[in-house]
């Protein structure tokens, strides 16, 4: 059975759309479930504030849902995208877009459930600071979405940018690698950012007076946990925009795809680890605010060490792109 080129592009778009929404549905659902579980516990502990807790739970879940909504947007785009000039290269790019968005939504979805849940517990513990907790929860979970937003940007670029005349071999592998690099690297960062945001909601509920310090350290900690996702973004930009000499040898293509896979998987662990470091720092700043600057410094140094594995992954993938 011979398959013509339009069909190939359609197949790639449909598979990409399916991957984007299928994988993208995992994270947000888990995160929202965590928020709901904590809300139940909170209502049981303090039934008088159940109206506030319920409202907060719904707001938190709405924000946690955004990663899945990004995936939905990309999936629908891929289903109905209109490719003017169908090529095999475009097929690879569409598949890469689906992979990037699908994997990229997992971490942010799970992560942004944590601040919602901790804010609900916090309202039960300290009803006077309800509005402060909701604000902090919104900031924390919005910042958690950054890795998912990066994935969406890479997916949109792969879908819409016309890369011009580039050789099919090995560029097709570069596009798939770009999607994998961004999508996988976003998992850890999204989850880690959520850990930090959750700890900050808990901390503010325990010691409302330390809110300014706690929010500041939360933002810095989240920003550093996002570093692996930023490395993933960097590698996928290089993969997308570098021009490669034509080479039909399979090894050239596999080097590019390997670069994407290396950065993608290499970014998962450091993202979660950095998030744990930030979580610890944020939690203890709330209890011991006099030593906030020491805690922040130790958090940063610890994160830098735990990030070194992401840097190894980046070095290996840059070697794969530029040297091999």
């Amino acid at each position: 059975m011979a398959i013509d080129i339009e069909t190939v592009v359609k197949i790639a778009a449909y598979i990409g759309g399916g991957l984007a929404m299928g994988l993208g549905a995992i994270g947000a659902a888990v995160g929202e479930g965590y928020t709901a579980a904590q809300a139940n516990a909170a209502v049981a502990r303090s039934p008088k504030t159940s109206a506030d807790i319920f409202k907060n739970m719904l707001v938190g879940q709405a924000v946690a849902e955004s990663a899945s909504i990004f995936a939905l947007v990309i999936a629908i785009l891929l289903l109905f995208v209109n490719v003017p000039v169908p090529t095999y290269l475009k097929a690879a790019a569409l598949l890469g877009a689906g992979l990037s968005m699908g994997f990229g939504a997992i971490g942010s979805g799970i992560g942004s459930g944590f601040p919602g849940g901790e804010a609900c517990t916090g309202i039960a513990r300290q009803p006077q600071v309800t509005s402060q907790l909701t604000t902090n929860m919104l900031i924390g979970s919005a910042v958690c979405q950054t890795p998912a937003i990066f994935s969406m940007v890479v997916a949109l670029m792969l879908t819409f940018i016309d890369f011009g005349k580039v050789p099919l071999y090995p560029t097709w592998a570069a596009y798939l690698g770009a999607g994998l690099s961004m999508g996988l690297a976003a998992i850890g960062s999204g989850y880690g950012g959520g850990l930090a945001a959750g700890a900050s909601c808990e901390g503010i509920a325990r010691h409302p007076r330390t809110a300014t310090n706690v929010t500041t350290i939360m933002l810095v900690g989240q920003a550093v946990s996002q570093t692996p996702a930023i490395f993933g973004l960097l590698v996928s930009f290089i993969l997308m925009f570098k021009s490669y000499p034509e080479s039909t040898a399979l090894s050239a293509s596999m080097a590019l795809m390997g670069a994407g896979i290396c950065m993608g998987f290499g970014g998962i662990g450091p993202g979660i680890g950095n998030g744990m470091a930030a979580e610890g720092a944020v939690r203890w700043v709330a209890r011991n605010v006099e030593h906030a600057s020491d805690l922040m410094r130790i958090m940063l140094v610890g994160q830098a060490v735990s990030q070194s594995t992401a840097i190894y992954a980046m070095v290996v993938s840059l070697v794969l792109i530029f040297v091999v």
């Binding site: 919005a142 500041t216 810095v220 996002q226 490395f231």
Partner: protein, 224 residues
């Protein structure tokens, strides 16, 4: 959708190399400078014990940022670095908010701006480190914990520049790409105002704050 990934560039041949200038970014950066200078002039005009609204605004901004610097660096160092921190934050904030005005674009959407600012922070932090610890103690830190970790420590320091500048660039550029695509798909009808509020105002403020705080914290890690 042709606008995606397109730039207006001025290319000047210079002894066999091409010097490329992104015209829009330069113009937008100058607009930010002018806005900040006007803000500075208006907030400091007719200073009085009983501040007028604009003076109160200026004092509020400066004292908030001064407090943040003092928390991270201590009273002595804060006097030295607080002006830098105020300038950096105000520049980034104005830059990130500029995109919500039609026909204007954020200068931070261009990697050159953010990379330049990231390099500036890196150089300042390391200069401060050498000055406060002395060159020997500063250089010794690269050989921790064992001497052969030196290349990796070095790469780790350089990766900080990449992460700080790509974080700002990715957020701002990502926001503008998402706004562009969504506006195109919905024929500019429903969603864009909300997206501008989220990506322009909210994400812009948070990223400006994060960039400033990270620069301060990098200085404090080097100094202490």
């Amino acid at each position: 959708m042709g606008e995606l990934g397109k730039l207006h560039q001025l290319i000047i041949p210079f002894f066999g190399h091409n010097i490329t200038i992104n015209l829009e970014v330069v113009v937008m950066t100058w607009i930010v400078f002018v806005l900040l200078i006007v803000l500075g002039l208006f907030t400091t005009r007719k200073k009085a014990i009983l501040p007028r609204p604009l003076q109160a605004l200026g004092e509020l901004i400066v004292s908030l940022l001064y407090g943040l610097t003092e928390d991270a660096l201590g009273r002595e160092q804060a006097q030295k670095y607080a002006p830098l921190v105020c300038a950096l934050f105000l520049f980034l904030l104005t830059s990130n908010w500029l995109g919500i005005i039609p026909h204007l674009e954020e200068p931070t959407k261009d990697l050159n701006t953010t990379l330049g600012l990231g390099l500036m922070g890196f150089v300042i932090a390391h200069y401060a480190g050498i000055k406060s610890k002395g060159f020997k103690a500063y250089a010794k830190e690269y050989f921790q914990p064992i001497f052969f970790m030196m290349p990796l420590n070095l790469i780790g320091e350089l990766a900080k520049i990449v992460s700080i500048s790509f974080r700002l660039f990715g957020n701002i550029m990502g926001g503008s790409i998402i706004i562009l695509v969504v506006s195109y798909l919905t024929y500019n009808i429903v969603l864009p105002p909300f997206l501008y509020a989220f990506f322009g105002l909210f994400v812009g403020t948070i990223q400006a704050f994060v960039f400033t705080m990270l620069t301060v914290v990098y200085i404090s890690v080097q100094v202490k």
